[in-house]
């Protein structure tokens, strides 16, 4: 693989950087200068969708939330592999189909495993 590129080809990227940084800086400066500056106790409180916040957020909560979330992420990420496969489905032919079946089979084994282990039981 040969890449023929001169430093000048990277100019658009440099401009992109300048624009991105400039946008952030100018909006921050502009809001600071234009907006009225009224500080109040209510404004500094944690945003809880309009409900008054109560208690400490550093408290133990059930590991089940964590477990469900991590399992969701796991299976969610695996599904991403199906998109490139679906796009190239025709060109990969039967081999690609079988390979994907194998992959999904292993995934289903994992699902059976976590269900039988009781990881999804809430009570």
């Amino acid at each position: 693989m040969i890449l023929l590129s001169a430093p000048v080809d990277y100019l658009p990227i440099a401009m992109m950087f300048v624009v991105a940084m400039g946008f952030v800086l100018s909006t921050m400066v502009a809001t600071h200068l234009l907006g009225p500056n009224r500080k109040s106790k209510v404004k500094l409180e944690t945003f809880e969708c309009g409900i008054e916040p109560q208690g400490n957020s550093r408290m133990p909560f059930s590991i089940k939330y964590f477990l469900i979330a991590i399992l969701f992420v796991l299976f969610d990420v695996e599904v991403i592999f199906m998109y490139p496969w679906a796009v190239n489905f025709r060109s990969m032919g039967v081999t690609g189909l079988l390979e994907m079946f194998l992959f999904m089979g292993i995934l289903v084994l994992g699902l059976i495993y976590i269900i039988r282990k009781g990881a999804l039981k809430w009570e």
Partner: protein
């Protein structure tokens, strides 16, 4: 290649055995599986096939090391029956061990830097969990966390290195990188050297060589003894196989550049490992430092890099791993109540002379005393290094071996002391541990008497 698939499937079967209710069949299944895997490797001998667009390359080097780690795992299994049959243990331990083995074989037989990375990760991630598998022991938790943080850090270095090498050569393939390096040896960009250096750092972290060894004693001490035995034998063998393969096929043209660095690291590793092992009162921690020191000797084979060094590193890793397994079997059998002190061995020779004799043989092999495997492993290694012109390195190695003899003999000396009242009852070594000790002693003797068999096949 088929062997790799069989081991991966065995791992999945082990994982499912508990939920599908065939846990009782697990041990025979795994035993038969591992034996047939060794058979499959033997059948592949001399074939040298490349798989999956040259991602994996099973040449004789890869097959020899893969068969060796499989045999070591089978030996390890003999003392680890409790992982498979006791009611309290989980089938996950067995599954993780088999996934570790899968990773080890991938990282031994890689022919592509991405496969090296995947192999190391399959191996490491299973090991992080295993290191912390003794959930109610604080030290085990600490070991798992430390190992994970350090391992992730080292993997970062490795990946940076791979990226820079890819940036220069435009390929992950070992052969193509080697071709690129030899073709452009006159005007290599600076970042190629940085890439080699970063990969070197990443791998030195993984094999716990001297400036990067600080995690090893804590992790080895904290992990459950069986996992430590696995880490310091099978994992170390696989890591060195990968290390040697990378530098022999890929970066051998640059050896003038990294040779001196690696020689100094090797010398430092041997000295640090051996000197610190002398001061340890804890048997397990002493074995951890001894494992660091042995990593230094094995690094010498990579420094030497000539026609006999592949055979020498193969003989050395097998001799070291087999003797270590024996030492860990004793430690595991005797240290039932977290009693891992060396003085716990007092009176061993009077109470159980046969077992103590076998442990003696394992210790002598680790120290490198003539009729045993450790001596000839060191002999071939040192010979190769002298041939490559690093005489000072061999002098350092001999000196540090002498320090090593002291603390291995201290273990033997302690066995002869009379047992005191405060020591309590010495547990009886029987069953799997005794069988393993016997096999270890026989293999160490056989490999010491006929060292050419293992050394000559590569």
């Amino acid at each position: 290649m088929n062997a790799l698939i069989v081991i991966a499937c065995l791992g999945i079967a082990a994982m499912m055995s508990e939920v599908l209710g065939f846990k009782k069949l697990l041990l025979p299944l795994v035993a038969i599986g591992l034996i047939s895997v060794v058979g499959l490797f033997v059948m592949d001998w001399n074939t040298s096939i490349r798989y999956y667009h040259d991602m994996l390359y099973f040449d004789n080097y890869a097959i020899a090391f893969s068969a060796m780690v499989t045999v070591l795992t089978a030996l390890w299994l003999i003392m680890s029956k409790e992982y498979f049959i006791s009611t309290t243990s989980k089938a996950e331990h067995a599954a993780l061990i088999l996934f570790c083995l899968t990773g080890a074989i991938v990282m031994i037989s890689y022919s592509d830097l991405s496969m090296l990375f995947i192999g190391i990760e399959i191996l490491s991630i299973s090991l992080y969990v295993l290191a912390a598998s003794n959930k109610h022991d604080l030290r085990s938790n600490e070991a798992g966390l430390k190992y994970f943080l350090m391992g992730a850090f080292a993997t970062g270095f490795l990946l940076f290195g791979i990226t820079l090498i890819y940036g220069a050569s435009g390929s992950f393939n070992l052969q193509e990188i080697a071709n690129y390096l030899s073709k452009n040896s006159e005007h290599l960009p600076m970042f190629v050297y940085a890439g080699v250096l970063l990969m070197l750092v990443g791998l030195l972290f993984k094999v716990s060589a001297a400036p990067f060894h600080f995690w090893a004693p804590d992790v080895y001490e904290g992990s459950p003894t069986l996992v430590t035995a696995f880490m310091s034998t099978i994992v170390k063998t696989a890591a060195f196989a990968a290390f040697y393969r990378l530098f022999a096929t890929c970066f051998s043209d640059l050896s003038g550049w990294w040779g001196e660095t690696l020689a100094i690291v090797a010398a430092l590793t041997m000295l640090v490992g051996n000197v610190l092992a002398v001061m340890q009162q804890n048997f397990k921690r002493m074995l951890a430092y001894s494992s660091i020191a042995h990593a230094g000797y094995m690094l010498m084979a990579i420094v030497a890099m000539n026609h006999i060094s592949a055979g020498a590193i193969f003989l050395y890793t097998s001799a070291y791993s087999i003797a270590s397994l024996g030492a860990f079997a004793c430690l595991h059998a005797l240290g039932a109540n977290d009693n891992e002190k060396i003085i716990n061995l007092r009176g061993f020779i009077a109470k159980q002379p046969f077992n103590a004799g076998l442990l003696c043989l394992a210790m002598l092999s680790l120290a490198g005393i003539p009729p045993l495997a450790g001596f000839f492993a060191k002999y071939y290694l040192f010979y190769g290094v002298i041939q490559s012109g690093y005489l000072w390195l061999v002098l350092v190695a001999v000196l540090s071996s002498l320090i090593g003899v002291y603390y291995y003999f201290r273990v033997i000396y302690t066995m002869f002391l009379p047992r005191e009242e405060e020591d309590g009852v010495l547990p009886k070594i029987s069953g799997g541990h005794k069988i393993l000790l016997t096999i270890v002693a026989i293999l160490s003797l056989l490999m010491g008497i006929f060292p050419g068999i293992l050394q000559g096949i590569l």
